[in-house]
């Protein structure tokens, strides 16, 4: 009677029963790509089962529902691609270098580097909240809010460290960089090349001390 907990993933101790015939992680990665490119509503279960190479019952047994699969795809996306944008930011010694890495690495990652993934950010471009799925909408909305929080925290530390003058409006400055990175996703999806987004990043960084 008891079903396997999907959240346990492949680590679930399945001692009995027919073994799963597909790679759950690989299937999740393929579902993530599909949601990333087409969005939630435009991606059908038939699209998913075809891309994942499994039947519908296998999908539902492993992931629960379309909404649950999207939520898990979102977590997979963050776990896999977040570092492309934030690794340099976190390891930078100064706030200016951190923001510079954030914007330049965004220009790179959002245009498909280094593994030719879809253009633009799945979180930034997701409109699932407006499509009538409030719960998933809150999920991506809160994920988008993290960008602002991190920028704000780093800029606050920069003021405390004397890197930025005390009067600097931290919140407005964080919004500024968040806005630019969000815009990059729109431009990237339309095919704007990496070099042009990097030029945008440099332009944004040119006025650090204003």
């Amino acid at each position: 009677m008891q079903k396997s907990d999907p959240t346990l993933g492949d680590r679930a101790a399945r001692t009995r029963g027919r073994p799963r015939a597909f790679d759950r992680a690989l299937a999740l990665a393929r579902a993530t790509r599909l949601f990333w490119v087409k969005g939630y509503e435009a991606t059908s279960i038939a699209d998913l089962t075809q891309a994942m190479g499994i039947g519908a019952p296998s999908l539902y047994a492993a992931f629960g529902s379309k909404e649950a699969l999207y939520a898990e795809a979102l977590r997979h996306y963050e776990a896999t691609y977040e570092q492309l944008v934030w690794a340099g930011f976190h390891s930078a010694p100064t706030a200016r270098e951190a923001v510079s890495a954030f914007l330049l690495d965004s220009a790179s990652a959002l245009t498909g580097a280094p593994d030719d993934h879809p253009l633009g950010c799945m979180v930034t471009l997701s409109a699932v909240g407006s499509e009538g799925h409030a719960e998933l909408g809150e999920l991506v909305r809160s994920a988008r809010a993290v960008t602002l929080q991190r920028l704000q925290a780093r800029l606050s530390a920069a003021v405390a460290a004397g890197e930025l003058r005390a009067g600097t409006d931290i919140h407005a400055r964080a919004r500024f960089y968040q806005c630019i990175q969000a815009g990059m996703s729109i431009l990237a999806r339309d095919g704007t090349p990496r070099a042009e987004l990097e030029a945008v990043a440099r332009q944004a960084l040119a006025q650090w001390n204003v």
Copy 2:
């Protein structure tokens, strides 16, 4: 046998036949709002007929198909709301004032001013191209490209007029302002208040001579 040409709208000379019982322009405005908020795929014909206050046969007789209705809604959107963002840009005496008006008016319009319309730009936020409708996708993509073209043309004129130094990278600068306005739509849809987007605009304008 001959059907009325939907493109003629209300100006079609209908001398015979039962008169249309609804306001075509009002119905189109309501359809536009729905597509604006929910996007193409997530908006169903049932949603549309309910919001427009008409039956499905009336919708198809007046607008042709869901795709044709979306295309016409897009034109209605541009004709109605474009001026909110571009009027000040076009009438400004200098390029700097033009770009300033473009960004500040965008901050205003994208947060619902002055008539409490949906948040964000319908054109910027549309993902209809990724949802599997290539023709409509090209429509919104080319609409997005207009922003870059206008900025670039105005900045080029500014260089010719000596407002900007000759070495300025016009294309990169235009991309920069386009990127910021695109980002504003993402932030606005998440509820970022107008004042914060205006602060972003001022921050972007602070480095005109860099």
